[in-house]
């Protein structure tokens, strides 16, 4: 039995996942071994089909690995999901059009049986956290895409899970909005001390946000490089022009290129 205070929050050992498709088996994950410690911000970067989203979905118990072991908070992913150990943010905000912003954020709380008073207090708190306090009574269609995505992050934060899994949450947004949301996400991470798993296509986004960058490559989906970022935890946007930042970005790019050379 490992000591739970230092044990990794997420631990994958020799994980394999093969999808059976009409064109034969697709090896989505091959021998993925990775430990994520508490409070880390881990980005998964790689081209389409490298298995980064699949890995996130395995952590969330939305996909079943074919072989290998994975634990989340020391439990199986299913037990962790049942214990509501994580909040998940999808590529699209996926807010319910028939619920107000507050109603959407309240959705997980209703399902998990929080008291009415607790629901209201939590909704207010997380909407403030994502800077949407004035929009509680608006319907999703009255908000911009960036605001909708922030609302969906608030929804994932509402029940205060220690782990936040984010699958390209800002992929559909423009560069300017994305920068702003990245900044806000870092501030939120600093305040809440959550463990974050973050899937992205964007090298600057991965380097700017992460304490650990996992570079993946496709066919079969595997990890080609794991970079522990030397950047400090507090990061102004200007840090992206520093030599350290550029050096890490360069290493990520090299890792992505190496993965492609195998083709």
């Amino acid at each position: 039995m490992r000591d739970t205070t230092t044990a990794p929050v997420i631990s994958a050992q020799a994980l394999n996942l093969t999808f059976q498709t009409g064109d034969g088996p697709v090896h989505a994950l091959k021998d993925v071994t990775l430990d994520i410690a508490k409070g880390e911000f881990v980005s998964f970067i790689g081209p389409s089909g490298c298995g980064k989203t699949t890995f996130l979905r395995v952590i969330a118990d939305l996909e079943q690995p074919t072989s290998g072991t994975i634990t989340v908070n020391g439990m199986s992913p299913e037990a962790a999901r049942m214990a509501r150990a994580y909040g998940y943010v999808f590529q699209a905000a996926g807010l319910y059009p028939w619920r107000t912003i507050a109603g959407n954020v309240k959705l997980p709380l209703e399902i998990m049986g929080y008291s009415k008073a607790d629901q209201a207090a939590r909704v207010e708190k997380v909407l403030e956290l994502v800077e949407l306090s004035g929009f509680a009574r608006k319907f999703p269609w009255q908000l911009s895409g960036g605001m909708q995505q922030r609302a969906s992050i608030a929804r994932a934060l509402a029940f205060d899970a220690d782990i936040l899994l984010m699958d390209e949450p800002f992929g559909a947004l423009d560069e300017i909005v994305r920068d702003r949301l990245n900044e806000q996400l870092l501030a939120l991470w600093a305040r809440t001390e959550k463990t974050i798993g973050f899937v992205t296509h964007s090298i600057p986004e991965a380097v700017y946000l992460s304490t650990k960058i996992v570079v993946m490559s496709p066919r079969p989906g595997r990890i080609t490089d794991v970079i522990d970022s030397p950047l400090p935890r507090v990061r102004p946007l200007e840090i992206r022009d520093s030599p350290e930042f550029i050096e890490i970005a360069h290493r990520v790019r090299e890792g992505l290129r190496a993965g492609h050379l195998d083709d």
């Binding site: 118990d61 509501r84 999808f90 996926g94 319910y96 107000t100 959705l107 399902i111 998990m112 319907f139």
Partner: protein, 298 residues
């Protein structure tokens, strides 16, 4: 309100076409009458006659409107058996017959909608029902209702069930189908991402239904309810035909055709159409209010 003008224009065109058709349709009888009387029929006299025959092949619009007025308001206000004189609806008024049909329609519609929703819930949640129910539902609708309606009436009559229930069952038979089809589609409207989201909350099947599938299905429900209530009315009218034309709009149609009372047939037809349109409009109103409250203004 800007929709009113086109609708009125189309209505005016239809009425004009109808009037234009009245003269050629009814002229035979008018000319026969004139010949027997040894008179020459001028064109204006021909037109006047074709517009005011007792038993025209095609009654003129104003005759139908007159009959509708007489057999509703006038009958109930001044008729010997009317509401004003007896305190109950006259069995000669379209209000009475319309209500007889409407009550069967509403009962059948209620049962049919409930049955349709229940079947759709079963189909969406149960693999065996998914594979087995839909083909039967489709097959049920390929049987002509005119063929099966008398059977249902006769069988139920044999076990002592008469009156409202057999008619409501035939309404049910026609109205459950659009609700099944619409609600299966509606309950399956949530995409995989929304279902995955529910899974990350470890939501129970009941919670997924109540919080996701049911609200998603609302627009589909109202669309199919509109079709269903019109079908329910058709079912109730058809069900009245084999019962011997006692009461109801179907009975008015049947007795009208027995005695060649074309004006009565047409006014019963219009009464049915007005009834159907009002019910569809009522559901449309409920739909608007509901979807507006849900933030999904249609």
């Amino acid at each position: 309100m800007r929709n009113v003008l086109p609708v009125l224009t189309v209505t005016a065109c239809l009425i004009a076409l109808w009037y234009a058709a009245v003269v050629p349709m009814n002229q035979q009888w008018a000319q026969d009458q004139a010949r027997r009387a040894g008179q020459d029929l001028s064109f204006s006299a021909l037109v006047a006659d074709t517009m005011s025959q007792q038993r025209p092949r095609l009654p003129a619009p104003h005759q139908v409107a007159q009959e509708l007025w007489n057999s509703t308001v006038v009958e109930e206000m001044t008729g010997r058996r009317g509401f004003m004189n007896t305190g109950s609806l006259s069995n000669r008024s379209l209000i009475y017959h319309g209500w007889v049909t409407l009550s069967a329609t509403l009962l059948g519609f209620a049962i049919g909608s409930a049955l349709g929703i229940a079947l759709a819930v079963g189909i969406v949640h149960n693999r065996a029902m998914d594979a087995s129910v839909m083909p039967w539902a489709i097959a049920s609708q390929t049987i002509p209702i005119l063929a099966i309606a008398p059977m249902i009436i006769v069988v139920l009559n044999a076990v002592g069930i008469t009156g409202l229930i057999p008619k409501a069952i035939i309404s049910t038979y026609l109205s459950f189908f659009p609700v099944v089809v619409g609600m299966v589609k509606g309950l399956r409207a949530p995409d995989q991402m929304q279902l995955d989201l529910m899974k990350t909350y470890s939501a129970s099947g009941g919670q997924v239904f109540a919080k996701l599938r049911w609200p998603s299905a609302m627009p589909y429900l109202f669309a199919s309810l509109k079709v269903a209530i019109a079908a329910a009315l058709v079912g109730a009218i058809v069900a009245e035909l084999p019962t011997g034309a006692v009461a109801g709009l179907g009975a008015r149609l049947l007795s009208g055709s027995y005695y060649g009372q074309t004006v009565q047939i047409w006014s019963a037809l219009f009464a049915a159409a007005i009834l159907a349109a009002s019910m569809v409009a009522l559901i449309g109103l409920i739909q608007r209010v509901t979807l507006k409250r849900m933030g999904m203004a249609a």
